[in-house]
């Protein structure tokens, strides 16, 4: 599955993997903002931005083919809107929608592919996102897989009970019942999780094996990327 693959990628140990998550988030924001304000026909600027991403993928040692292919998931949407704009005579916007949304997706992929999500969320928290929101996101990500699997089981069980025949899809009521059971089980699971957390003296914060440290290298990286992109943009 998609997020399992990302998890594997993010376990690497390249220079990009080892940077502080905050440095990567800030660099990503700089990249996205610069990209968003670049004219769609500034091909040189866009090419240089793409080259920066390419260099990042190479340094991180991510499988570039797979990454570039997966980033195409955004294309159906942007191609549709691109086509609409093209037909409406706004060719520049059509071009921009397609090329810029693709580059943005690759950039997000590069950062998420080199940062384990829990670490990324910790970085966001350190940048001022409220603790409660970050904790909820942490739990969400941790249990996403568990609950998804449970929903597959429920769906399978429901369609087994339905019997074979021409109707292979779940009936409306059966689907609602399955969801209600999933809801109740999630609820009870959360209670169990909470008791387990209390038993282990949860302090209101996830402990990290490694402390976040924004070092000199991180600062230099962020500043260099941002300065380079801005310089390219205003040329």
């Amino acid at each position: 599955m998609h997020h399992v693959l990302l998890d594997q990628w993010s376990q690497g140990s390249s220079a990009l993997h080892n940077l502080d998550p905050r440095a990567k988030i800030l660099a990503l924001l700089a990249f996205l903002i610069v990209l968003a304000t670049t004219a769609p026909n500034a091909f040189l600027t866009l090419a240089i931005d793409a080259a920066v991403l390419g260099a990042g993928i190479l340094i991180a040692g991510l499988p570039s083919g797979s990454l570039l292919l997966r980033a195409m998931a955004v294309l159906p949407f942007s191609l549709t809107f691109g086509l609409i704009s093209w037909l409406a005579g706004d060719r520049l916007r059509a071009l921009g929608l397609v090329e810029k949304s693709y580059l943005s997706t690759v950039a997000v992929f590069l950062i998420v592919g080199t940062t384990p999500l829990p670490l990324l969320l910790n970085g966001l928290e350190a940048l001022g996102i409220p603790r409660l929101l970050v904790l909820v996101a942490q739990f969400l990500y941790r249990y996403l897989f568990v609950i998804s699997e449970q929903s597959q089981h429920l769906r399978l069980a429901a369609s087994c009970r339905q019997g074979s025949g021409r109707r292979r899809r779940l009936g409306f009521r059966a689907a609602a019942g399955a969801l209600a059971v999933l809801f109740a089980r999630s609820y009870y699971r959360a209670e169990g999780i909470h008791r387990a957390m209390m038993a282990r003296a949860f302090s209101g914060k996830f402990a990290l094996l490694r402390r976040l440290q924004f070092g000199l290298a991180d600062g230099v990286f962020t500043l260099a990327i941002a300065a380079f992109l801005i310089l390219v943009r205003i040329q």
Partner: protein, 299 residues
């Protein structure tokens, strides 16, 4: 309904980011006052539930199927503020891990679905509470999807994405369809949960939380504006956008473009100033609102 990056023009996404941050911050404050420790894993697991619920398809009509969006169901079972937080976490994870929706557009998506969608969905529940259950739940779920959809469409149009009128109408019809489906799904799931264990379904806390009412009303009104804008001629919107200084075709180039002193003309400067001022005003209003409410609550 997840808007990717570079679909919205810079003033639009920047404004919505600026609006979403204090809104979510307010909800977090509100929720941490309401909730106990128990609820942190609950909120997270419920987020995972909504994710997983989207894998179960509901048959609607011939050959088509819908799935639960979840904002209204969460609001009815967890309360409005916690539901906003869960939806925000879902949208953020979708943007980062699944590349569904942009990072710069995160504010827009959060505002449409987690803030306005949840609040609009909670409004009927807040107003009529436990009485007339079924229509209230249906209406809430319908509104939550409809408001999010109209807002997203309105934002795209204000950003200058040119859509011919028939297409706009078709997308509005599609939103209405999925809103009806959401209503039906939410009702049947809600009733099934109630049958399983009535304790899981929160009794609507009819708080004299006037701020919520105001916010919900505002969310609904915004959705209506989006709807009306979208159903009027798109040209009209663009004209309106230009008048408001919002539809700067190229987007305003962010503060650092100052270095490119040779490039900007006065028109660009005007647009940029208008955009920045609008952004600041929205931000100030949101912060002031949150402060004011916070003070009244603590008094």
């Amino acid at each position: 309904m997840h808007i990717p990056d570079n679909f919205l023009s810079t003033p639009v996404w920047a404004t919505l980011d600026a609006a979403a941050i204090p809104a979510v911050g307010f909800m977090v404050k509100r929720a941490s006052r309401e909730l106990e420790d128990t609820s942190i894993p609950l909120l997270g697991v419920m987020g995972a539930f909504v994710f997983a619920a989207q894998m179960i398809n509901f048959p609607v009509g011939i050959g088509t199927s819908g799935h639960l969006v979840g904002g209204a169901l969460l609001a009815f079972t967890l309360g409005a503020a916690p539901a906003t937080i869960v939806m925000t976490a879902i949208i953020a994870i979708q943007a980062f891990v699944f590349q569904d929706g942009g990072v710069l557009a995160l504010g827009a998506n959060v505002f449409n679905m987690a803030v306005a969608g949840v609040l609009a969905g909670y409004l009927p529940f807040w107003m009529w509470g436990a009485g007339r259950r079924r229509p209230v739940i249906f209406l809430g779920a319908f509104l939550s999807v409809m408001v999010s959809g109209s807002l997203a469409l309105g934002e795209l149009l204000i950003s200058g994405v040119a859509m011919p009128r028939p297409l706009v109408l078709v997308s509005m019809a599609l939103f209405a369809m999925s809103a009806l489906i959401e209503g039906a799904i939410t009702i049947s799931v809600f009733q099934a949960i109630e049958k399983l264990n009535p304790g899981l379904v929160q009794k609507p806390d009819a708080p004299n939380w006037r701020a919520l009412f105001v916010f919900s009303g505002a969310a609904l009104a915004l959705g209506l504006v989006g709807f009306l804008l979208a159903s009027s001629a798109p040209d009209g919107i663009q004209r309106l956008g230009i008048q408001l200084g919002l539809a700067a075709k190229t987007g305003f180039h962010a503060p650092f473009a100052d270095y490119a002193a040779g490039h900007f003309d006065s028109a660009w400067l005007r647009r940029a100033t208008a955009g920045l001022t609008g952004l600041l005003v929205v931000y100030a209003v949101c912060v002031a609102f949150a402060k004011m409410i916070g003070r009244r609550r603590s008094a």
